[in-house]
């Protein structure tokens, strides 16, 4: 791994410069280097992954698309075989638990991952294929010459390339400086916070009813003090990733800091037992593109510059399915293939769009295009989890009184938390979104 003092000098020139050594950047750099291209990948962190935070999990198809068999080799945490949804009230929770070992067989569909373990592995794969890597260097801007992007500026250094690939993440500073993206609208992102909590392996496996190297993924609704958003939990090998994602715009309109809301969620009587006696190891935060297709900029390229991964808005929040890193890898592959197909550098952009179609990324984003509308239903984050809990509480409550008839009780519960017109509007919104 090269350090700052090994930074290529001014006269250096590469076929492609990749900004950012996350999954999108490394996938792109690897694919190009494997085809014999001279690639420089620049990462601002001291190592790949040191600036990154995920929920999170990686869907493995993307890794195997990059190189067949890599999902069996990559340093990932646990293959997810339990998919859980937890609906919370103040003191109670209803959990749906879908256990399916088919998700682990023959190739596990997804793994929980930690970025500081995973990203360096993938970046090293790129380096092994011949990519020149430069760590600990922040790219400040792109160089524009005669209307086209011709390289990057990092501190005192100018480095030139036929094509620059911006894989610099959700804040997309490079895309903004290059005029491809405007300011990020607060409603189009989620702010995620996460605590890593260490637990002994046997305790973790017993608590989540999973075998060795198997894991659970859980989303929480009703854990965000009514704010649009939710919580998440992933079991890693010997840690738990517990976090919360909320809409920053709505968050900014109320008075409690996100850290405080998150710590309350952590101590919820139905969540605390999952992490009790564990040890807090790390606290992280990161933005997540939440607009789906709407987060993808109108222009994904200009002459000499391609956007990939979060910088291109490639993420999907479908409530129970959260995808980002798989789409990042696929977009990185698409960008690399575009560069390889391009007869001249200016062909890379239009070719990139074709490759995105070819690799089904465009269609995937379109498929989920309506889903963010669902997440604007305010009742989803408060009223509905409360209704679910009230119904369960009614069904399981036994005392000396004679219980109400179920239809009457359910109607009363619904009317307590929502109006019929609201329920109908939500049903219609849901139908249209899906």
């Amino acid at each position: 791994m090269e350090r700052q003092d090994d930074m290529p000098g001014e006269e250096d020139r590469f076929d492609t410069i990749v900004i950012g050594a996350g999954p999108a950047g490394s996938a792109c750099a690897y694919t190009l280097a494997k085809a014999g291209r001279n690639v420089l990948m620049i990462e601002r962190g001291d190592d790949a992954g040191s600036k990154n935070v995920t929920g999170g999990r990686l869907y493995t198809y993307a890794l195997d698309l990059l190189e067949p068999g890599w999902s069996a080799e990559a340093p990932m945490e646990r293959k997810i075989v339990r998919e859980q949804i937890m609906l919370l009230d103040k003191q109670s929770a209803l959990t749906l638990d879908y256990a399916d070992r088919g998700f682990a067989d023959p190739v596990p569909q997804s793994y929980s991952i930690l970025r500081k373990r995973f990203d360096p592995w993938l970046a090293d794969k790129a380096e092994g294929a011949g990519v020149t890597t430069a760590y600990g260097i922040l790219v400040d801007d792109v160089i524009v010459k005669e209307g086209r992007v011709a390289g990057v500026v990092a501190g005192e250094d100018e480095i030139f390339a036929d094509v620059v690939v911006a894989a610099d993440g959700v804040n997309a500073l490079i895309a903004q400086k290059a005029g491809l993206r405007g300011e990020i609208v607060p409603s189009s992102v989620g702010i995620g916070v996460k605590e890593i909590i260490a637990l002994p392996v046997d305790v973790l496996e017993n608590r989540f009813l999973v075998g060795p190297h198997e894991g659970a993924a859980r989303v929480f609704l009703g854990s965000t003090a009514g704010l649009p958003g939710g919580g998440f939990l992933y079991t890693n090998e010997d840690t738990i990733s517990l976090g919360m994602v909320v809409n920053p715009e709505e968050l900014g309109r109320q008075s409690r800091p996100i850290h405080d809301l998150f710590q309350d969620m952590k101590m919820h009587p139905s969540i605390y037992p999952l992490i009790a006696d564990g040890m807090s190891m790390e606290y992280g935060a990161h933005l997540v593109p939440e607009g789906g297709l709407r987060s993808v900029p109108q222009k994904l390229y200009r002459d000499g510059l391609l956007l990939v991964g979060d910088a291109a808005g490639y993420a999907v929040n479908a409530g129970i399915i959260l995808r980002g890193m798989d789409l990042a890898i696929v977009s990185g592959i698409a960008a690399a293939r575009a560069v390889l197909c391009a007869v001249k550098p200016s062909d890379a952009g239009p070719e990139y769009l074709k490759q995105l179609d070819e690799l089904k990324l465009t269609a995937t984003m379109k498929h989920f295009a309506g889903w963010p509308d669902l997440l604007t239903i305010p009742r989803l984050f408060s009223a509905y989890p409360l209704i679910a809990n009230d119904i369960m509480r009614f069904l399981f409550t036994v005392d000396h009184s004679v219980p109400a008839k179920i239809p009457k009780a359910v109607r009363e519960i619904l009317e307590k938390h929502a109006s019929w017109s609201g329920l109908l509007a939500d049903a219609w919104k849901g139908f249209r979104a899906l």
Partner: protein, 96 residues
């Protein structure tokens, strides 16, 4: 140590930082911030680095988790500079 509700300071103490003493990567203009009535930065920053003291926003860039939320939420342009820290500086996640 078992699991309990922790303060922002306690949570940040879990993380590894290399603070750039020479250059602040985020700078705000308190003259502008004084006139901002909503001050969403006080609640959206996961590290709670924006604090109100006598009408002024007190801000310390050490402890920044580099998420970018303050940048996108600041509607009145009180943030006059927001960049990532210079290479190698800032937070280094050990788990991520």
């Amino acid at each position: 140590m078992t699991i309990r509700k922790q303060t922002p300071e306690e949570l940040l103490a879990l993380d590894k930082f290399a603070v750039d003493e020479r250059s602040a990567h985020i700078v705000l203009d308190n003259q502008i911030c004084k006139t901002c009535s909503s001050k969403p930065c006080l609640v959206v920053c996961p590290a709670t680095l924006y604090r109100l003291q006598g009408g002024d926003i007190q801000f310390d860039y050490a402890g920044c988790l580099e998420c970018g939320t303050c940048r996108i939420i600041c509607a009145n342009k009180g943030l006059t500079k927001w960049s990532y820290p210079r290479g190698s500086f800032g937070v280094s996640f050990r788990y991520g």
